[in-house]
Amino acid sequence: MSVSLIIISILILLIMFGVGQRILDSLRLSDKAALLILILICIGLFIPPIWIGEYFCFSIGGFLIPLALSIYLLISCGWSRDLLRAFIGTILVAGIIYGLEWLLPADPEEMLIDNMYIYGIVAGLIAYILGRSRRNAFISCLFGLTLAQLIQWIVNFAMNTPTILGLGVGGAFGTYIVSIIIAVAVSEFLGRCFESASLDKEEKVYNFKTHTYDSEKNGKLNSNQTQKQEREENINSVQEKVIENEIYIEKHDENENKNSSEKSKTAKMTKNTAKNKSKKSNSAQKAKK
């Protein structure tokens, strides 16, 4: 079994057990959507690459599905500062990977670890430093790898030594998937390390009215015990309301189901009675005749 498939299988299991929910939230994905995408990638890796002309091909599982997902991520994050960060991240990742191809040893026996892991670590680091974003790690890794390969492809064409540009190709061993997963994992790991450390220093509470963080530093949050208790009570009441809403939604769904089944039953009943009536009237008419 290939490295890509092993890593994807582990991811599927982790998601099924509810691990990594925070990463999925940052990627704007539900766990079901993530599972569906990972299964599609697995299937896509077994489909032969699609060739366009003699010198270009791409893999469905290794490139097309991650590309579609990164476009969705770009759209979902809005055309804001995140887009600029993703763009800068892509340029930096592409530049560094292109440079690393020359700096790293050319022969496999000299490599300490495979290139795909190094590319993933680079993309994850850059994305985190630029915007502490797991989403950008995904986007800049995919687009950065693509851009680096594209630059080399253009250089080779310009030097009259055309090569093949195979995006995410290499059977189930496509480097893109592994690199992307590592990039997201690295940014998440850094996030866990630094963000949890910063939380220990200072308590921050998100203010839904002003859409800013209230903290003791900016004077909007008091460390008074009674106020803390109030806040906790508020949080508890909000959580209770959320639970009530969920119960209400579930009941509502069940009622809807019942209603729809009852409606269909009554509809069938009315149809049957109408049919019986018409049959009776027909037979009566025949009898009259």
């Binding site: 530049g95 292109y98 020359w102 050319a106 495979d114 630029l130 080399q152 290499g170 480097t175």
Partner: protein, 389 residues
């Protein structure tokens, strides 16, 4: 935070601008500095075990011509000198054959017609031979392509269909194997029985100079990737090739180097990297070796029943007891190395699942409701109906 951002931006731009400089440095290195690793059998440094052009790392394994397995214990990167440690005498698969002495009239015969198919490509297209190419490296198709072409022609003479791809994977840097993976995958899609990456080493001429059948030629080294998922299978493939070649054409196979990395061997259980001599040996010598290696691979892959008569003409199959031995080919053991069977099985299973799923949807209203709910939950943000505010 801003400082880190600026630092990263600066580093990135530096890499971008440094790239052309790196290319120049690398080319300069290719032109001038030519040193190779010398590995000694023990710390007394009395006997040289082998030479190697590319990097040698601690922990790599080496199988010598007399089938002794060594592990690289230490390497000094400055002097490029290393010490190896003897591990054990390795037992290779046994071939009950010997070289047959014959006259010319006997040797020419028709090839066995079959559906034998192999693939050849070059990850490092630039590799060349000083004689007669004049340089050891060119930015394009180097002299190594002539060796690959000769091997392909020799396979064809033995009735083996060859998919020989001369796609370029330049430049000769750490991305070359990533680029050649596309070519290797494309070859494997054709359902070949074996796939061979043809290279040349970078050492002294005398190290690779050998004599087979009374003719001077270049010896061949095999390289096996220890990090590959198919490491055991590829190692056994290399051992089989060496064992058979040692019985019939002694001296043809120099040794086996087992290094870190994949060498694209993770793609197939019968993938092999061959080093045909070095830049200092004559290209014709490397080309001569292709004829013998093609015959070896023919018998090792297809056995005595499937191999061409031309390959079997050189072999005496009779045992000491007078009975004729049968060589079982690796292909007859396990079939084509990458047939589309796996793909068909996967597609078949998927098709069956889709059909069962469609029937369930058509029959059960509950299933339809569950599916619609699953999709509305999964893609509510994209395709779901917007709730009225």
């Amino acid at each position: 935070m801003k400082k880190i951002l600026h630092l990263m931006l600066g580093l990135g731009l530096m890499f971008l601008f440094m790239t052309p400089v790196q290319i120049k440095i690398s080319n300069a290195y290719a032109d001038t500095a030519k040193t190779y690793y010398t590995i000694y059998e023990d710390e007394s440094k009395q006997k040289v075990l082998f030479f190697k052009g590319d990097d040698v790392s601690e922990g790599d394994m080496y199988l010598s011509s007399d089938n002794k397995l060594y592990e690289i214990e230490s390497v000094d990167e400055n002097t490029k000198v290393g010490i190896a440690k003897f591990i054990r005498d390795e037992e290779l698969p046994k071939y009950n054959v010997s070289r047959k002495i014959q006259d010319d009239s006997e040797s020419k015969s028709a090839s066995a017609a079959s559906t034998k198919k192999v693939g050849i490509y070059h990850t490092h297209n630039d590799e060349s031979y000083y004689t007669p190419d004049g340089v050891d490296s060119v930015y394009g198709a180097g002299g190594i392509h002539d060796v690959g072409k000769a091997l392909s022609d020799n396979f064809n003479k033995l009735g083996i269909e060859t998919i020989y791809r001369e796609d370029l994977h330049l430049p000769h840097n750490s991305g070359a194997y990533t680029r050649s993976q596309v070519t290797a995958s494309a070859i494997l899609k054709e359902g070949v029985d074996g796939i061979f990456d043809i290279h040349r080493d970078s050492t002294t001429r005398s190290f690779y100079l050998t004599e087979v059948d009374g003719k001077e030629m270049s010896a061949v080294r095999m390289v096996v990737g220890a990090s590959s998922a198919n490491y055991e299978e590829n190692k056994n493939f290399a051992y089989s090739i060496k064992s058979y070649a040692d019985s019939v054409y002694p001296g043809l196979i120099k040794d086996i180097y087992i290094g870190k990395g994949n060498y694209n061997q993770q793609l197939s259980t019968r993938a092999m990297l061959f080093e045909f001599g070095c830049e200092n040996i004559e290209k014709d010598y490397a080309i001569k070796a292709t004829e013998y290696l093609a015959k070896v691979l023919d018998v090792v892959l297809y056995g005595s029943d499937g191999a061409s008569d031309l390959s079997l003409n050189d072999v005496s199959l009779s045992t000491d007891g007078g009975e004729e031995s049968v060589i079982t080919g690796l292909v007859s053991d396990s079939g084509a190395v990458n047939s589309n069977t796996t793909l068909y099985i996967v597609l078949g299973v998927l098709g069956a699942i889709v059909i069962v799923f469609a029937i369930t949807l058509a029959v059960s209203r509950k299933a339809r409701y569950k599916v619609s709910r699953f999709f509305s939950e999964t893609f509510a943000g994209l395709f779901g109906k917007k709730k009225a505010k």
